[in-house]
Structures are given as structure tokens and as C-alpha cells.
């Protein structure tokens, strides 16, 4: 196990820069998720850590060693690919043993390690099968087994659950998390799915267009997104974002004066984006008026799509109400759960934890 340091890493494919000086520190044993929309550079960054892509400038260190010029095999990492990349002509056992054989580890030790990994992953009955004889979830486990037997410094996962159906994905998510808690191996995990990121990570790195938008613990990102991109990306359904102007102690949106954080008055007159999460809206007699467009009950909660002036708002209620499309309700944000962002730059206004952490510079 080892810490991983990514320092000012740049990746360019000929003239096109796809990663613009990214720095991330990953502590020993940490589970870090790189998340972002497709094309944000998260997979490229992971592949650079793996040694499958060269580093244009900057440094990547595993443990205390800069690995920029080491081959993938010399980096002591193991990688799980989106499509598993199992060797189709080798059995499960041979797939797991291949890397160990290449390292000339003796046979008894190989057998021991394969047996142990198979037991952890519940693959013992399938050791002599070929990948084509396994289900998607089992293949995924073999891919993980292949990583485990090597006992590497770092696990790298490249969207490992994308090929699985929704139910299996949730199950494997838990299994990977459990595995990490058991082995405590430093892990870098790439996904485009913010739910995966939120549920699995110790630390999330949100990337967009080759730049880091924010680094932090899942709930930090949820509670205090540093800009409109992170605010919109983390959380499902996404945060409501309304254009408004700070007006004294509130924010004027579509003619209504909405409650604002206590320090908002310092920005009076400023054009802002007013952000409130769907689950932080509640019915209130002193709230603003919105017309119900669509009601989507799921049983555990009800999602309501509302029209508020020009804007569309989503509200999420855990309690059941008798909502009718076309009716008008009064809602307001619960407590101080409101986020203000600069209308131009999209950056969060007011004191944020960002300045305390200082890790978001990019």
C-alpha cells in the first residue's frame, strides 16, 4: 500500500491538451473517485497513473517513487477495466495466476493466493471455467480477483460497473467497497456516475474538461459545492439553479424575494445563481408560489416538477401530499440550505470551506 501523488500533471495529444495541470494527493489506503462527464479526462488521468499513457509534464509518484518513466508492470499497480479484459482462452484460475507466473512466483504461493482471492470473491466453484461461461457479475469478480492476487500498492478501476445492469451494479458497488474496507489498498476509481462516487469514495475529485473543479469528501461536495458545475453534477435529482439578484437580506428571483444566507447582504445588487436542492424545498404558507406541472411518485418519495415564472423547479417530498398537476403550491427552502453562486463565473459566494482546505487550486 502506498500514497499516490499527482503533481501538475498535463496530458496533450499532439497539440490538443486534455489535462491541464492537475494535482491530487491520495493518502495511503484512501478510496478516491475521479468523477466527471465523459471527455473530462478522468480515464486519461487514471491511465497515466497506470502507465498506459505517457505524462506530458508534471509528475506522478507512487509511494516515494516518481513513476513517470516506469512501465506499467514496474509500478506495482493492478487495474480493472470497464470490459474486464479477461483472457478468453484462459480459465479463471489461469487468468488470476498469469501475472504471478510472469513474476516467477513459486507454484505453491500462486495456488495459495489464487485460492484466497477466489474465496474472498466467492469464485471458488468457478476456478476451472472460462470467462465465456460466467455471468457479467462473475466476470467482474474475476477481474477483481486478478487485481487482488498481485497484492499491489494501488488498485485502479476504470468504470468497472458500467457494463452491468442496474441491480447488479448496486450489489457490486457494495462488494467493491467491502473489499476495500477489508484490504485497505489505496484505490483510484473512475466513474461518470455521481451516485457511485458519493456512495463509495473517501474523497471525490470532480473533473471537467481536464481541470479539477473540486476535491473533497462526498458530503462536503454535496453540502458546499464550490461552483455551479459541482452543484449541478453532485446530487440527484440535480440542484435547482435560478437566476436572481441579491436584494438586501434575500434574493429576488422572478419577482419573488427568496430567503438567502445570512451573509448575502454583503453582495447586495449582485447578479447570482440561486441554488437549492430539490430535497431542501418544503411546503410553507410564506413560501413562493409555483404551479405543479408533473408529479412523479415513487413510493418512498414524490418528485414534483414545478413552474416558477420562467424557471422550472424540481422538489422532492418524502411525505405524501395530494398534488394535482395545474394546482399552485407555496414552497420555500428549508432552513439555510441555499447556495449562492456568482452569475458570471459560477463560483460560490460567501465563506466556503474551499479557502480553508486550499486544495482546489488548479
Amino acid at each position: 500500500m502506498a500514497q499516490v501523488a499527482i503533481r501538475n500533471v498535463v496530458k496533450a495529444f499532439e497539440a490538443v491538451r486534455v489535462i491541464h495541470g492537475v494535482s491530487v494527493d491520495i493518502a495511503d489506503g484512501e478510496f478516491v473517485v475521479l468523477v466527471g462527464p465523459s471527455g473530462c479526462g478522468k480515464s486519461t488521468l487514471l491511465r497515466m497513473v497506470a502507465g498506459l499513457e505517457s505524462v506530458t509534464s508534471g509528475a506522478i509518484a507512487i509511494g516515494d517513487k516518481v513513476v513517470n518513466h516506469l512501465s506499467p508492470a514496474e509500478r506495482d499497480i493492478a487495474m480493472v477495466f470497464q470490459n474486464y479484459a479477461l483472457y478468453p482462452h484462459k480459465t479463471v484460475r489461469q487468468n488470476m495466476a498469469f501475472a504471478l507466473k510472469l513474476r516467477r512466483i513459486d507454484k505453491a504461493e500462486i495456488n495459495h493466493r489464487v485460492a484466497r482471492a477466489a474465496e474472498i470473491l466467492g469464485l471458488t466453484p468457478y476456478l476451472d471455467r472460462y470467462p465465456r461461461q460466467l455471468s457479467g457479475g462473475q466476470r467482474q469478480r474475476v477481474a477483481m480477483g486478478r487485481a487482488i492476487v498481485r497484492n499491489p500498492q494501488v488498485f485502479l478501476f476504470d468504470e468497472p460497473l458500467s457494463n452491468l445492469d442496474a441491480k447488479l451494479r448496486v450489489q457490486m458497488r457494495t462488494e467493491i467497497k467491502e473489499l476495500h474496507q477489508r484490504l485497505q489498498t489505496t484505490t483510484i476509481y473512475v466513474t461518470h456516475d455521481q451516485v457511485e462516487a458519493m456512495t463509495m469514495a473517501d474523497k471525490i475529485v470532480v473533473l471537467q474538461e481536464g481541470r479539477i473543479e473540486q476535491i473533497g469528501a462526498p458530503l462536503d461536495l454535496y453540502d458546499r459545492p464550490v461552483n455551479t458545475f459541482v452543484a449541478g453534477f453532485i446530487g440527484s435529482p440535480a440542484m435547482n439553479m435560478l437566476d436572481g439578484v441579491v436584494d438586501g437580506v434575500g434574493v429576488r428571483v422572478s419577482g419573488a424575494l427568496l430567503p438567502a444566507p445570512a451573509d448575502a447582504h454583503r453582495n447586495s445588487g449582485r447578479r447570482v445563481v440561486y441554488g437549492v436542492r430539490p430535497e431542501h424545498l418544503e411546503l410553507a404558507d410564506d413560501g413562493f408560489e409555483a404551479r405543479i406541472a408533473v408529479v412523479e411518485p415513487t413510493g418512498s418519495e414524490t418528485m414534483v416538477f414545478l413552474r416558477f415564472g420562467e424557471a422550472e423547479i424540481v422538489a422532492l417530498f418524502r411525505e405524501r401530499h395530494d398534488f394535482r398537476p395545474g394546482a399552485t403550491i407555496r414552497i420555500k427552502p428549508r432552513g439555510a440550505n441555499v447556495h449562492l453562486f456568482d452569475a458570471g463565473s459560477g463560483a460560490r459566494l460567501g465563506v466556503s470551506r474551499r479557502s480553508e482546505e486550499g486544495a482546489e487550486a488548479c
Binding site: L52, P72, A73, M79, N83, L86, P88, H89, L102, R132
Partner: protein
């Protein structure tokens, strides 16, 4: 009973019938020369003069006996085997290395190399005969096994590189990357991962290339002039010259000559495992 009859009628679908009809005609056309060869080889010289196409009235095996015992049949066959095996082995080894590099390694001129190699497929061997002959005469390579093997290997390699490159490219990139992370170098990836997965393509190549060398007459006649180095095809073709127009005898020789290739083909047929790649990804 009536039910089963309508069931049968319902099963005869016009589109399938048409497909099968077309395929049936194609099979007949493809098999006609073989049938002609076998039937003719069983006719006596006399019968062949008045019965060219029909089945033999009184089948005889004399021609087979003549081919086996009154000619250098076994020596010729040995020569053909040496040439086919040598050329196929050499060409396959070279093509695997070349195709791997073209398919999976980054280097300047990769595309150009592939284009040049592929375009060589279009060059007819005949145009190379004269310069090659002059060169071989100077190098003292006429009527040598290794000289002929070199020419054959050269002629069949462009197609082999083309086929293998195309095939290697279909192997998912992640398998190469995974093997690299596991600690395998290029040569090991080729031997341990790529070649086992390319078995269908490799066997196809062996059959096609062996067939080409086995059936070739042009190179064999020009570059292997020594009687002791004559190939089977060259040997059989001289039946005609030496004994006048002995078509049935030639056909008997052809039956023997085709046998190894038919056996090779049938033997490898079962190795064309469909879905060998299944399960590697997704």
C-alpha cells in the same frame, strides 16, 4: 395426418427455398471439376476417347497404380511437402511479428508499411520471374529448396500480414493493456495472448498458403529444374508431355495430389471455433 401435411407445407418458405436453390447450384458448380477428375481417373484410355463426360462403364484402377509405382510420385510429394511446410512456416512466423507490430505498436511509417505490404498482393508473380531468375542464377539459388521456399514465402506473406493485422486489430486493446500491466512484454503478449486468440485466422492462413504452394506450377517449373527437386504438380504436369495425351492418368495423379490438402482442410475445419473470443469482454 392432414395437420402434419399443412405443417410441412407451412415449413417450406419461398425465401429459404430460393436461398437453398442458389446454394445448391453453387455447390454443383464447385464440385463439378472434382467429380470430373475422379470419374475420368477411373476410365481406361480407350473409354476416355469416346466417353469424355459420363460415368465410367468399366472402372479401372490402373492409372492409380501407374501413378504410385511407375512414376516418382513419392519423391515429388516429398518435395512439395518440404516446400509447402517451409514456406508456410517461414511466412507465418514473419507475418505474425509484422502484423503484431503494425496492429499494436506505435512507430513512424506504420501506415505506409502496411499499405506497401498490402499492395504487394496485387503484383502478379509472373512479372517477377525474370529479375528473380537472374538474381537467383547469380546467387546460385536455382534448384535449391531454400531458394524456392524464400520465393514462396515472399509471395504469400503480404496476404498473411494483411489477414493477421486485420485480425489482431479486432482483439480488444484492453487485453494488451491488461497483459502489459501483468508484466508481459510484446513478444510474450504475442505468443501467450494474441496467437491463441488468433487460432482461427492462423489455421485459415496455413490452409490457404499451403494450398497455394502445393498447387503452384510457375515457380516450381522455373526455379526447380533439377528432376530430383520436382514438385508434385510439376511432376504430374509432365505426364502429359511425356506420355502424350493421357488425361485419365493425369487425373489419377491429381486425385492423389489433392488428397493432402483436402485432409488438411478437413482436419482444421473443426478448429474454426466460433465464439473463441466470447467472454473476453462484456
Amino acid at each position: 395426418m392432414a395437420g402434419s401435411e399443412t405443417g410441412f407445407l407451412a415449413r417450406v418458405r419461398p425465401d429459404l427455398a430460393l436461398k437453398h436453390g442458389v446454394l445448391g447450384v453453387a455447390v454443383l458448380i464447385a464440385l463439378a471439376p472434382t467429380v470430373f477428375m475422379v470419374l475420368t481417373s477411373l476410365k481406361s484410355e480407350e473409354e476416355y476417347t469416346f466417353n469424355k463426360v459420363g460415368p465410367p462403364a468399366a472402372p479401372v484402377l490402373d492409372h492409380y497404380r501407374s501413378v504410385l509405382f511407375a512414376s516418382d510420385f513419392f519423391a515429388w510429394m516429398g518435395n512439395s511437402l518440404v516446400l509447402a511446410a517451409g514456406a508456410v512456416a517461414l511466412s507465418t512466423a514473419v507475418s505474425c511479428l509484422g502484423a503484431y507490430a503494425i496492429a499494436r505498436m506505435q512507430f513512424a511509417g506504420r501506415g505506409l508499411l502496411f499499405s506497401v505490404s498490402t499492395s504487394l498482393m496485387a503484383v502478379p508473380p509472373v512479372v517477377m520471374i525474370v529479375p528473380l531468375f537472374v538474381l537467383y542464377a547469380q546467387l546460385d539459388l536455382i534448384s535449391t529448396y531454400h531458394g524456392a521456399i524464400l520465393i514462396y514465402a515472399g509471395l504469400i506473406t503480404p496476404f498473411s500480414v494483411y489477414l493477421l493485422t486485420t485480425f489482431f486489430r479486432t482483439i480488444p486493446r484492453e487485453l494488451f493493456e491488461s497483459a502489459r500491466i501483468d508484466g508481459a512484454g510484446d513478444l510474450r503478449i504475442l505468443v501467450r495472448i494474441v496467437l491463441p486468440l488468433s487460432l482461427p485466422a492462423l489455421l485459415t492462413l496455413v490452409v490457404v498458403n499451403a494450398l497455394y504452394v502445393w498447387n503452384d506450377l510457375l515457380i516450381a517449373i522455373i526455379f526447380l529444374q533439377d528432376d530430383a527437386k520436382r514438385t508434385l504438380m510439376a511432376g504430374i504436369s509432365v505426364f502429359q508431355g511425356r506420355y502424350g495425351d493421357q488425361i485419365p492418368l493425369t487425373m489419377a495423379g491429381m486425385v492423389f495430389a489433392s488428397a493432402p490438402m483436402v485432409i488438411l482442410y478437413i482436419a482444421f475445419q473443426k478448429h474454426y471455433i466460433s465464439g473463441l473470443m466470447a467472454g473476453s469482454i462484456k
